[in-house]
C-alpha cells in the first residue's frame, strides 16, 4: 500500500503522471482485432467516459486496464504500473465494477459486503456503503432476490469498497431506474470530490454529459474522438439542420450557413411550412462519429 496519494493536478497543467496511459493497444480474438491501436490518457482526478456501440471493444479495453485480460500489443500503464504484472498493492488501489454482479446468490447484501471487506487493506464500512448506494432497506435480502437495478448498486458498492484511487465502471447504471441513476451520479461526484479518478463506459449519453470531464468515442477498435462532452464533435455541431415541408413531404438540409438556406427558401416562397432549424445534440454527434447514421448530402436544394 503506497501512502503517496498523488494530488489531482490543477486543470490545464497536464504535467503530472496520468492515471491511465495507453499507446497502440491491440487485442485480437481469433484473428479479428477488437482493439486496433487504441490510445487513451486519463488524467489524475478526472472522470473519463468511454462511449461506443456494442462490440466496439470498450469492455475489452477496460478489462485489460483492470489486469484481468491480456493484450496482444501496445503499452499500458495504470497508476504507473503495467496491469498484467501488477500485484496486490496495485489491486488495492484500483476498484472494479464489471458487468457481471460478481456475488453469490445465497448470501445477503450485508454478508456479501462484509465478506469482500476482508480482502481490502482499508475497506469502507458496510453501513456507509449501504447508505451510499441506497441499499439499507435491502441489506438483509439475499443477493439472488435483488432486482437488476439493486444488483448493479451492490456491484458499485463492492467496486468502491477498498477506497480505490482509480475506479473502473463498466456500464454501471444499466438496469437502474432514474432515481437510482441520479443517486449513483451523486455517489460518483462525491468520490471525485475526494480525488478518485473514474473511468467509465456507458451507453447513456446524458450520463456521460452529466459525469465526465472528457468523453472518448470508441469505434472500430480505436478512439475516434476525445473531447469534453459539450465540445464533442465540434465540427459536426456547427452543422445545422434546416427542415421544412414541401408538397407534403419533409425535406431537410444540413448546412453550416442556415441563414443562407432560409434566404434561398424565402426567395421562392413567402411562407415555409413546418420549418425547423436544429443544431445536433450530443446523441446526433455520437451517432455520426460511430457512423450509425447516413449523412444527407448537402446541396439537395440547390
Amino acid at each position: 500500500m503506497t501512502t503517496t496519494q498523488v494530488a489531482p493536478a490543477p486543470p490545464g497543467t497536464g504535467t503530472d503522471r496520468p492515471a491511465v496511459a495507453v499507446r497502440g493497444l491491440v487485442k485480437r480474438y481469433g484473428g479479428r482485432a477488437v482493439l486496433d491501436g487504441l490510445d487513451l490518457d486519463v488524467r489524475r482526478g478526472e472522470c473519463f467516459a468511454l462511449l461506443g456501440p456494442n462490440g466496439a471493444g470498450k469492455t475489452t479495453a477496460i478489462e485489460i486496464l483492470e489486469g484481468v485480460r491480456r493484450r496482444d500489443a501496445g503499452e499500458v500503464l495504470v497508476l504507473g504500473e503495467d496491469p498484467s504484472l501488477a500485484g496486490r498493492g496495485w489491486r488495492d488501489r484500483v476498484g472494479v465494477v464489471s458487468q457481471g454482479e460478481g456475488a453469490g446468490q445465497a448470501l445477503s447484501v450485508r454478508e456479501t459486503l462484509d465478506h469482500f471487506a476482508r480482502y481490502h487493506a482499508r475497506a469502507r464500512s458496510t453501513e456507509d456503503l449501504l447508505a451510499a448506494v441506497g441499499l439499507q432497506e435491502s441489506a438483509g435480502s439475499r443477493v439472488g432476490r435483488l432486482s437488476g437495478g439493486q444488483r448493479r448498486r451492490l456491484a458499485v458498492a463492492l467496486g468502491v469498497q477498498g477506497r480505490p484511487e482509480l475506479l473502473f465502471l463498466d456500464e454501471p447504471t444499466t438496469g437502474m431506474d432514474p432515481v437510482a441513476r441520479r443517486q449513483f451520479w451523486e455517489l460518483i461526484r462525491g468520490l471525485r470530490a475526494d480525488g478518485t479518478t473514474v473511468l467509465l463506459t456507458t451507453h447513456y449519453l446524458d450520463e456521460a454529459a452529466e459525469l465526465a470531464d472528457r468523453v472518448g468515442v470508441v469505434a472500430g477498435g480505436r478512439l475516434v474522438e476525445v473531447a469534453p462532452p459539450e465540445e464533442l464533435g465540434a465540427a459536426l455541431r456547427r452543422e445545422t439542420t434546416v427542415s421544412w415541408l414541401e408538397g407534403g413531404a419533409r425535406r431537410s438540409v444540413r448546412t453550416q450557413a442556415p441563414a443562407a438556406v432560409l434566404r434561398d427558401l424565402l426567395a421562392v416562397q413567402a411562407e415555409i411550412p413546418g420549418l425547423s432549424v436544429t443544431r445536433p445534440g450530443l446523441e446526433d454527434v455520437y451517432l455520426r462519429l460511430v457512423g450509425a447514421t447516413p449523412t444527407t448530402s448537402e446541396g439537395a436544394l440547390r
Binding site: M1, T2, E66, G67, V68, R69, R70, E81, D82, S84, L85, A86, G87, R88, G89, W90, R91, D92, V94, V96, S98, Q99, G100, E101, G102, A103, G104, Q105, A106, L107, E111, H115, F116, R118, Y119, H120, A121, R142, L158, G162
Partner: protein, 275 residues
C-alpha cells in the same frame, strides 16, 4: 514477480505466504457461509451415498457373494466411502462453473488477494465438506451394524479417502474451468456412474470377465477401495491381480498422479482466463 516490478508495499516471503493462507481461508469461508444458507442442498448431497449404502445393503446385498467369503455389508462400506469421494467431483465442478458464470471468479481476480486463493479456498472448503460427508456416511454405516477394525487403521483409511477426494477435487476444478456452462455438469454426473460401476466398489473385480476385471482393478478408485477394506479389516475378495496386491501403493500413487496432472491443467486454465 521480479524485483523490478515489486513495490515496497508488496508482501514478500513469509508475509506473502501468510496473506495467501488468510485469503484462502477467507475464500473458503464464503463457501461455508453459502452452505449454511442452503442446508437442504447440503443434506441431500450428504445423504445420497447413505441412500446407496442402504439400497445395496438391503435391496441387492442379499444376492451378493464376496469371493473368498465375508459379509457383503463390510465389503460394501469401504466401496461406498470411496465413491462418495468420487461423487465430490460434481460438487466441485458445479461450484467452479457457478462462480465463473456469475462473475465471482473475475471479481476475485480483480481484488487485492493472492491469485492462488481462489482455488486454494475451493480446496479447503470442499475438503471440509467431504469430512462432514464422510462422518455422515460412517455414522450411517455404524447404524446398520458395520464396525471398523481399529481406530488408528480407521484414521489412516480416512486419510486415504481424503487423498482420493483431493484428486477428484482438482479434476472438478479443471472441468469447472473448462465447462463455462452449468449444463455441462449434467454430462459429468452421468459419466460418473459407469466409472463408479467399472471398479471394485460394489463387487470384486475377480467376479468380472477377464479384461473388464483388469480395467476395474486399475480404476483410480480401486486401489483406495481395497486399501481401505484392508485397513478396516473388511473382506477384500480373493482372486485379484498385481493391482489388488499392491492396493496401498496405488491408493497413494493414483491420487497423487491425478492431483498433479489436474492441478497443473487447472492453474494453466485459470491463467488462460485472462486471454
Amino acid at each position: 514477480m521480479t524485483a523490478l516490478h515489486a513495490t515496497p508495499a508488496e508482501p514478500r516471503g513469509l508475509e506473502r505466504l501468510r496473506w495467501a493462507v488468510a485469503d484462502a481461508v477467507a475464500a473458503a469461508g464464503r463457501d461455508v457461509a453459502h452452505w449454511r444458507r442452503q442446508p437442504a442442498a447440503v443434506l441431500v448431497a450428504a445423504l445420497f451415498p447413505v441412500l446407496l449404502l442402504l439400497m445395496f445393503t438391503y435391496l441387492l446385498g442379499g444376492g451378493m457373494v464376496v469371493p473368498g467369503g465375508g459379509d457383503y455389508r463390510d465389503f460394501l462400506v469401504p466401496g461406498m466411502l470411496a465413491l462418495a469421494m468420487v461423487f465430490g467431483v460434481e460438487a466441485t465442478m458445479t461450484a467452479v462453473v457457478t462462480d465463473t458464470a456469475r462473475g465471482i471468479t473475475d471479481r476475485f481476480r480483480s481484488l487485492p488477494m493472492a491469485p492462488s486463493a481462489v482455488v486454494a479456498g475451493r480446496c479447503l472448503a470442499d475438503l471440509a465438506g467431504s469430512v462432514v460427508g464422510l462422518a455422515v456416511l460412517l455414522a450411517a454405516a455404524l447404524a446398520v451394524g458395520w464396525r471398523p477394525g481399529g481406530l488408528v487403521p480407521a484414521l489412516a483409511a480416512v486419510g486415504l479417502l481424503l487423498l482420493l477426494r483431493l484428486a477428484f477435487l482438482w479434476m472438478g476444478i479443471y472441468l469447472g474451468l473448462l465447462a463455462r456452462d452449468p449444463s455441462m455438469v449434467v454430462a459429468v454426473q452421468i459419466l460418473v456412474w459407469p466409472f463408479a460401476f467399472l471398479s471394485n466398489a460394489f463387487v470384486a473385480a475377480s467376479s468380472m470377465p477377464g479384461w473388464l476385471a483388469t480395467i476395474a482393478e486399475w480404476n483410480p478408485v480401486a486401489g483406495t477401495v481395497t486399501a481401505v477394506r484392508e485397513l478396516f479389516g473388511a473382506p477384500v475378495g480373493t482372486g485379484g491381480g498385481w493391482a489388488t496386491e499392491h492396493a496401498l501403493l496405488l491408493a497413494v500413487a493414483w491420487p497423487v498422479l491425478l492431483t498433479g496432472v489436474f492441478a497443473v491443467l487447472s492453474v494453466r486454465r485459470f491463467q488462460g482466463l485472462s486471454r
